[in-house]
Symmetry: C2
Subunit: 295 residues, 2 copies
């Protein structure tokens, strides 16, 4: 098939991903719930049209990428597109949603003679801009093969994780690490601030040893400057941790680290930092480590 | 001064570090509490002699590196060496001990007209073998400058963190990250095992995204194979976390992540894994996530 690609969801991740497709002359249409973003996108990328709605995009395209926020958003979009999905079309969902939702939607799409891949990403807004995302894919290997050249426009790594839902299950595992690493880095840096260690030397020495990690590399300097504006919104991690809570409940599992991170991030959200990067957690850690002094 | 270098403590870290000095023709004497290790070392490195004890080494050398386990070990060695330390000699302590102990010993050494640097390392046994360690140094900048060419035999990064004790304070911060990252990675991989995600694809996709970290890179594959024999002994991390507990008490701080990690690692130790790498924590996490099913 000759792919006619549509991209739905031009947020902090979706916009740069769609731009990579456009730069490779691979993008046909875009759609975004608030039309100002799609208008700005098509103005910046000639040859790309803005669809009136998801159904119009699905009728005009045979590869449909989604990159939106939550289970309900993905489900609503799929429901709108189902009646017009062409047989053989492929829906690639880059959103992070529950594995069970992904499986249910994949079945609904398959019932129309089309195919669906759950394909959540990791690598942050930096990875989206650089085109170096890590994509974890659940679904049929043949479908993945068909869209791989497209995904390579914004991915450095594409891993097939098994059947429908396994991409989302992998993303859930990824977020266990992301949330727990942020806890560790924020607690450590809050302690370092308290001990008045020199910042630049601290970051360099930590990054080079066994404590080295992506989050420290990308967010260490900004969080020590209390600048948490750019990056992965804390309220989106809360959503992802909610997915993990439901996954744990359905599998009868205990995920202590997730419960701890969720309690922390909800406090950050209540303090007004929901739209800040997850590194804003350091503000709570600065308070938590001093809890005894305040008591 | 022309350095005559002695190295005390030929353990998993110290032996490869001393070997780098020997290969650079910079090592004069070694000493190790159990003499089999020093005998093996001098047999493998011509031109290096084994000292009978720490005092003999200190009398024959003017740069003395230490790489042993605990506060009491370092304090005992310094006490033995104090009477014979030559004025202008420099003691470089690569052990991980409490910042307050490091400050006290630095004062005692300075009272003899010699100098001391606290210079704990990070980067694991891999870093020691590759000569790519990260060294965090507390003490006088002029002393550090004198020994920098020697430290570069096994370090990729040497950061001066301030006065005496600040190297150890930085190592304490480093271990907050190391312990917390291990918690996150072990919980995440235990979940991935439960969800039966394919191992190789999992590791590759996690490493490439926002969850990427040194511990996953170095220990991910072995821990999924339940091989935790090589690396950083769990009982040594327990010692380091004890240093953090004392630091927290003396500064009136609360370090929740440390309390949680310490409780976990003590359980691992009680299960007989004290001499295993810290990645053996995954064995506990496999049980913890199933706690509800067992109940």
């Amino acid at each position: 098939m000759t792919p006619r690609v549509g991209f739905i969801g031009l947020g902090a991740m979706g916009a740069p991903m769609a731009a990579h497709l456009a730069h490779s002359q691979c993008l046909h249409q875009v759609y975004n719930r608030s039309s100002d973003k799609s208008a700005a996108f098509v103005a910046a990328h000639s040859g790309v049209a803005a669809a009136a709605d998801a159904a119009a995009l699905a009728a005009a395209c045979n590869v449909i990428m989604l990159c939106v926020s939550a289970d309900a958003d993905v489900a609503a979009l799929i429901e709108q597109m189902l009646p017009v999905l062409q047989p053989g079309s492929i829906v690639v969902d880059h959103s992070s949603i529950a594995p069970n939702t992904a499986r249910r939607l994949a079945t609904a799409v398959a019932d129309q003679g089309a195919g669906m891949l759950d394909a959540p990403v990791s690598g942050g807004v930096e990875g989206a801009h650089k085109g170096s995302l890590s994509i974890m894919v659940g679904g049929d290997a043949g479908l993945l093969q068909q869209v791989t050249p497209l995904l390579q426009c914004y991915a450095a790594r594409i891993s097939h994780m098994g059947g429908a839902g396994n991409g989302q299950a992998t993303k859930a595992v990824n977020q266990v690490l992301v949330a727990g690493i942020a806890e560790a880095v924020c607690e450590g840096l809050a302690l370092a601030e308290h001990l008045q260690l020199p910042r630049q030397a601290l970051l360099e020495v930590l990054r080079n040893g066994a404590a080295g990690n992506w989050f420290l590399d990308q967010r260490g300097a900004t969080m020590l400057a209390d600048d948490c504006q750019r990056g992965f919104k804390l309220e989106l991690l809360i959503k992802d941790l909610g997915i993990l809570q439901h996954l744990a409940a359905s599998e009868n599992l205990v995920l202590d680290g997730i419960e701890r991170a969720l309690a922390d991030y909800r406090q950050c959200q209540q303090a007004g930092d929901g739209a800040q990067d997850i590194s804003a957690l350091i503000r709570l850690k600065r308070q938590q480590i001093l809890a005894k002094s305040d008591a």
